[in-house]
């Protein structure tokens, strides 16, 4: 125990003497939270639309007005020439082009039938899908209004329409930031767990002091605990600091117990620290360690459900996420903070993490050789 105490004392002295380290610890959480959670926004609004109106009738104007009044579309250009629309699509100035054919009003009145054309810039698939869906639903709504007006029926006697009312649970105002902040906190503690621990061990290899430690009576587990515990503490501190920033800046809801979040983080961090330790056992320089850690963290992060829902992934990719520790923590922290999930809801995930931590550290310790 005394040995570990001296090792910890040394590590903390080194961590706090390193000025860039201190800056990293204090500035990264603020930058990541404030910038990333504002930037990583998937709400689609202000789609720019070109309306190619060949009809210029009162009905075509009503349709245009209905689209722009919805709040989703901003009128970029109103023109008679379809080529203008094409050009704007090509120049990325329009996200969507609505082409209203000549005789729109006449055909609507006489033939009861008319065809509109929507051209959607689909470079960004999800944005295109949303643009298409918004425009489609607004046009359908427009269509229904016409029918009720012409049939001179008021809404009550109109053709039967199923009206759906809905309310958003857990994030009532659909605030994207509240969804993102917990996930970004996960990224934060992951960076400290996976990167700093491994790099710190490899640094002792690089400067050669590990040789000196190896001839002392320090035991394997002393050394490992002495290396991992400091970053475990720093990462938990980061989580607390990040939650505080989240609360103050974003009014992050904390529906569930913070103790659960910290309990889960404490176990989760051992997975990441174990990964850092494992990487340090087969790398010789900080550069190598950094690169390998980055490789895994970026894959884990992109497949974690942080930015894109796991449910949208193909089945094989979903199977991979069962082995993705970041995915578990992202899921659990959102469940607890936003939904107020309790012990019963997360205990399975906690068990998985515990198993993961044991396996990861087991392999790392087995791989770590004090004598060659």
């Amino acid at each position: 125990m005394r040995t570990i105490f001296f090792l910890l004392q040394k590590e903390f002295l080194q961590i706090f003497r390193n000025r860039s380290m201190l800056r990293i610890i204090l500035i990264i959480p603020i930058v990541q939270l404030v910038i990333l959670s504002n930037a990583a926004n998937y709400e689609v609004k202000d789609l720019s639309i070109d309306v190619v109106d060949h009809d210029l009738s009162s009905w075509s104007r009503r349709l245009t007005h209905k689209l722009t009044a919805s709040g989703y579309f901003r009128l970029n250009r109103q023109t008679f020439d379809r080529e203008d629309g094409f050009r704007d699509l090509q120049r990325d100035q329009a996200d969507i082009v609505l082409v209203i054919p000549p005789h729109f009003e006449r055909d609507l009145v006489r033939e009861d039938k008319v065809t509109l054309q929507l051209l959607v810039n689909a470079i960004n698939g999800s944005k295109a899908g949303l643009a298409n869906a918004y425009a489609g639903s607004i046009i359908r709504d427009f269509n229904r209004n016409i029918r009720t007006e012409w049939l001179a029926l008021d809404e009550r006697n109109g053709p039967p329409v199923i009206a759906v009312t809905f309310s958003n649970w857990y994030n009532t105002r659909l605030d994207y930031k509240i969804f993102m902040v917990p996930g970004i906190l996960v990224v934060l503690v992951t960076m400290i767990g996976a990167f700093l621990s491994g790099m710190n061990i490899v640094k002792e290899k690089e400067i050669g002091t590990i040789e000196q430690l190896n001839v002392t009576p320090i035991r394997k587990h002393h050394f490992i605990l002495g290396k991992l515990i400091p970053f475990w503490i720093v990462a938990l501190f980061e989580l607390a600091f990040g939650l505080l920033v989240g609360k103050l800046v974003f009014s992050l809801p904390m529906a569930g117990s913070l103790w659960l979040v910290f309990l889960f983080a404490a176990v989760y961090l051992w997975v990441m620290l174990g990964m850092g330790l494992l990487i340090s056992t087969f790398t010789e320089t900080q550069q190598q360690a950094m690169f390998i850690a980055w490789f895994f963290v970026i894959i884990f992060m992109l497949m974690s459900g942080l930015f894109t829902p796991v449910e949208n992934m193909p089945h094989w990719a979903q199977v991979i996420t069962w082995f993705n520790p970041i995915a578990y923590f992202v899921k659990v922290i959102r469940m607890v903070l936003l939904k107020g999930s309790g012990w019963a809801d997360i205990q399975f995930f906690l068990l998985v993490m515990l198993g993961y931590a044991l396996v990861m550290n087991g392999i790392a310790i087995w791989n770590y050789r004090k004598t060659s």
Binding site: R2, T3, F5, F6, L7, Q9, K10, L13, Q14, R17, N18, I207, G208, T209, E211, Q212, L213, N214, V215, T216, P217, I218, R219, T371, S372
Partner: protein
């Protein structure tokens, strides 16, 4: 009982035999010079004796403990100082002393007392609160040596301890070595400086993984008809 005893100690890396069946003894309180050209197998032999490297075959006992089965006991009873590293540059002088004292199991009182004595002996009281990175190389080496024997080991291994410093500082360093040896500490030292070899009680010279000569500097010079250890070394290392 002799502090270091080896019998046909061998280390192979694949097909390459780094240390080929070396057999020697080192006596209590002796300054034992371990010489050889680069790549002759000195460092490998030393690493095996320190419990850092597992021998392929042969026997070795250090401080009375077997290097295969009692590596932990070996480590507890030896001090070690390698050429460049051993102190943490981003820790202060006294923090380094405290750290190494602590991991060798010295109590707080002992650490305080040892720190005081050590700084006094090295005349470094004023530098106690300086970062090691701010010290000149020669001072670092003297400090590293003193830290390596802080826990009063019976043997201290020095791996090219005076590389890159001026002759005066080297002389001062050797005063520290003599002082330790006079207290009964066995000193096992590798060096490339032949004038340092003259300071040793006995010297072994390794060539291609084998010990080709082992005796006092005086006897070696007589044996090879040489004026200095420099000549002895050149004759051995070249004369294949």
């Amino acid at each position: 009982m002799q502090p270091i005893v080896t019998n046909a100690l061998t280390k192979k890396f694949g097909d390459f035999t780094a240390t080929n069946a070396i057999t020697f003894e080192v006596k209590q309180g002796e300054i034992f010079g371990f010489l050889g050209a680069n790549g002759a197998g000195k460092t490998t032999a030393m690493r095996m004796l320190c419990g850092l490297l597992r021998p392929t075959s042969g026997e070795a006992r250090v401080a009375g403990y077997d290097v295969y089965t009692q590596a932990d006991k070996v480590k507890r009873n030896i001090g070690y100082m390698s050429q460049r590293f051993s102190l943490y540059e981003d820790l202060k002088v006294k923090e380094n002393i405290r750290f190494y004292g602590g991991i060798y199991g010295l109590g707080n009182e002992a650490i305080r007392e040892k720190t005081r004595q050590l700084l006094q002996k090295l005349e470094m009281e004023a530098e106690a609160d300086l970062l090691v990175s701010a010290l000149p190389l020669g001072w670092k080496q003297k400090l590293a040596f003193s830290v390596a024997i802080l826990h009063d080991p019976s043997i201290v291994f020095l791996d090219e301890p005076t590389g890159g410093v001026d002759p005066i500082t080297r002389r001062q360093f050797w005063d520290l070595i003599y002082e330790a040896a006079s207290r009964g500490v066995t000193v096992f030292v590798t060096t490339h400086y032949m004038d340092e070899a003259e300071y040793c009680d006995r010297v072994s010279i390794m060539v291609d993984g084998r010990i080709q000569a082992l005796d006092t500097p005086r006897q070696l010079k007589a044996q090879f008809g040489a004026d200095s250890m420099d000549d002895v070394f050149l004759k051995l290392a070249r004369g294949k």
